[in-house]
């Protein structure tokens, strides 16, 4: 059923009790042309674009829990394309353009809100760095504006821009086209559209083993039986190393926990996304009125998908230093997700040493905004057995070739990116 004003009105007459399921829930078949492991936004988008862009519809997405229950449903939904290095700039800008048409394309409201993303500059060095980054963005055709302290203060009146501020505000870099979206809706919208294109979405089905014969994966062992596929795409974020290990591969990836938290809901007080690289902190206000904030990784390898006090304290300290007036807000929830931290902070979308295994991982803190382009490029790579020009640089073997894409210049320490 197409969602529209008309279908809304019609279903209102039956008290919204007769809406059909948004996607089927078929039992797994024994064989597919393509199996995507991981039902997060990336896996679901990949399946959708395999069907829509490449006509490949004999596809299953296998998810161990419920779709969107991984990082897709745990993230703070910041969307931007303010990158300095060329491969990242073009890739994330393509993603942002897909976001701009996504609700219409999927016939599903993903609540994409271009409320702008402001990076705060706290020193002259920060300002220099942001003007360099902003100029690089503009040369790549991406919108960027350098803000003075007065402009920042005008946009974000609650921010402490005084001369006695703990973290002085010297200005900022603004990307107006950036913003936020509703994370669950992204998973559900892609799932519904992929399902309509013929894709089987299989939840509660954990991959427990990959059987390898020479350079091929011959079968996938799952908690719902053995499944075989001509091609297999891995899009399991923080579990990439664990599952690639089942096929005998080691990845340039470490798994680390990232946390976020929300306050009790309040009236609208913050209508843009504010981030600080120096303090390592970001905040926005959700449509429900909660302040959504986050900051550092736990900084040690972890598959424990849960929250932990020190980074929460850090985020709250940063919030109060920047926005003293929030001091009496109570925090409502904290949670954690397990991140696929790559060795250069940039993603991997491409082929592996195995002939029929493809890899999509290394999303670090920032893979939600990548969801549409990641699905677009990963589907292209799987369908054509070669990368799209937008992900040609994101190869698995780039590290050993001296072609790392290290936006921060942090070096091969995954927890610093």
């Amino acid at each position: 059923m197409k969602y529209s004003l008309f279908s809304l009105a019609r279903n209102a007459l039956s008290h919204h009790e007769r809406w059909p399921r948004a996607w089927r829930s078929p039992p797994p078949k024994q064989f597919y042309d393509v199996v995507i492991i991981g039902g997060g936004g990336h896996g679901l988008a990949t399946a959708y674009y395999l069907a829509r862009n490449h006509g490949i519809t004999d596809v299953a997405v296998i998810e161990k829990g419920y779709i969107g229950g991984g990082n897709t449903g745990r993230n703070t939904t910041i969307i931007r394309s303010n990158y300095y290095l060329e491969p990242n700039a073009h890739f994330y800008e393509h993603s942002l353009k897909l976001w701009e048409g996504l609700s219409a394309d999927l016939n599903y409201n993903v609540m994409f809100s271009q409320r702008g993303v402001v990076n705060l500059a706290h020193s002259y060095a920060d300002l220099d760095n942001y003007s360099r980054r902003g100029n690089a963005m503009r040369l790549n055709g991406i919108d960027a504006e350098l803000l003075t302290r007065e402009e920042v203060s005008g946009m974000v009146p609650l921010l402490d821009c005084s001369s006695t501020a703990r973290y002085p505000i010297m200005g900022g870099l603004l990307q107006r086209r950036g913003g936020t979206a509703r994370h669950d809706a992204v998973a559900w919208g892609y799932a519904r559209a992929a399902d309509a294109g013929g894709v089987d979405i299989i939840e509660q089905c954990e991959v427990t083993g990959l059987r390898r014969d020479g350079n091929r994966i011959v079968s996938i062992e799952t908690t719902r039986g053995v499944i075989r596929a001509k091609k297999i795409g891995l899009a399991v974020a923080g579990h990439s190393g664990h599952i690639a290990g089942m096929a005998g591969l080691r990845l340039p990836i470490e798994t680390h926990v990232l946390q976020a938290l929300v306050s009790e809901p309040v009236k609208p007080v913050l209508d843009t996304v504010v981030t600080s690289g120096a303090v390592h902190f970001y905040v926005s206000q959700s449509d429900k009125g909660e302040l959504v904030l986050g900051g550092d990784l736990d900084m040690y390898n972890s598959y424990g998908q849960r929250s932990n006090l020190p980074p929460v304290e850090h985020a709250v300290q940063a919030l109060l230093a920047l926005f003293p007036s929030f001091s009496r807000l109570r925090m409502l929830r904290t949670w954690g997700g397990v991140m696929d931290m790559s060795m250069d902070g940039s993603p991997i979308i491409g082929k592996t040493p195995l002939d029929n295994l493809y890899l999509d991982c290394g999303w670090c803190y920032g893979g939600f905004k990548a969801t549409p382009a990641s699905g677009w490029c990963f589907a292209h790579t799987i369908a054509n057995d070669q990368p799209h020009e937008l992900n040609a640089a994101f190869t698995l073997d780039r590290y050993g070739l001296g072609k790392a894409i290290d936006e921060k210049g942090g070096g091969p320490y995954p927890w610093v990116h």
Partner: protein, 91 residues
């Protein structure tokens, strides 16, 4: 919050430590003869287990020594620690 058993100071809060990563990556033996693949594996590839992990930490806000901790990355259970040079299994 993790409590890290420092072999010199006893159990201390994780906030006193800096992380040094996987304790079992070693540069190739015979560095001049080693292949580029062996070098690149040393610099970039990690076992990244969901389970027992032997890792390096520095007690940077304490005795400042490097130590080797064996920890479960899923449950965060501690299985022991030792001076960085030793093997944690020996403790």
């Amino acid at each position: 919050m993790l409590s890290i058993p420092c072999p010199y100071c006893g159990p201390r809060d994780v906030t006193e430590f800096s992380y040094g990563g996987d304790g079992n990556v070693r540069p190739p033996t015979g560095p001049d003869a080693a292949s580029e693949a062996a070098w690149s594996a040393y610099v970039y590839l990690r076992a990244n287990p969901r389970g027992v992990h032997e890792e390096l930490w520095q007690h940077s806000a304490g005795c400042r020594r490097w130590i080797r901790v064996t920890r479960n990355t899923l449950t965060h259970e501690m299985h022991g620690s030792a001076p960085a040079r030793a093997s944690a299994a020996a403790s």
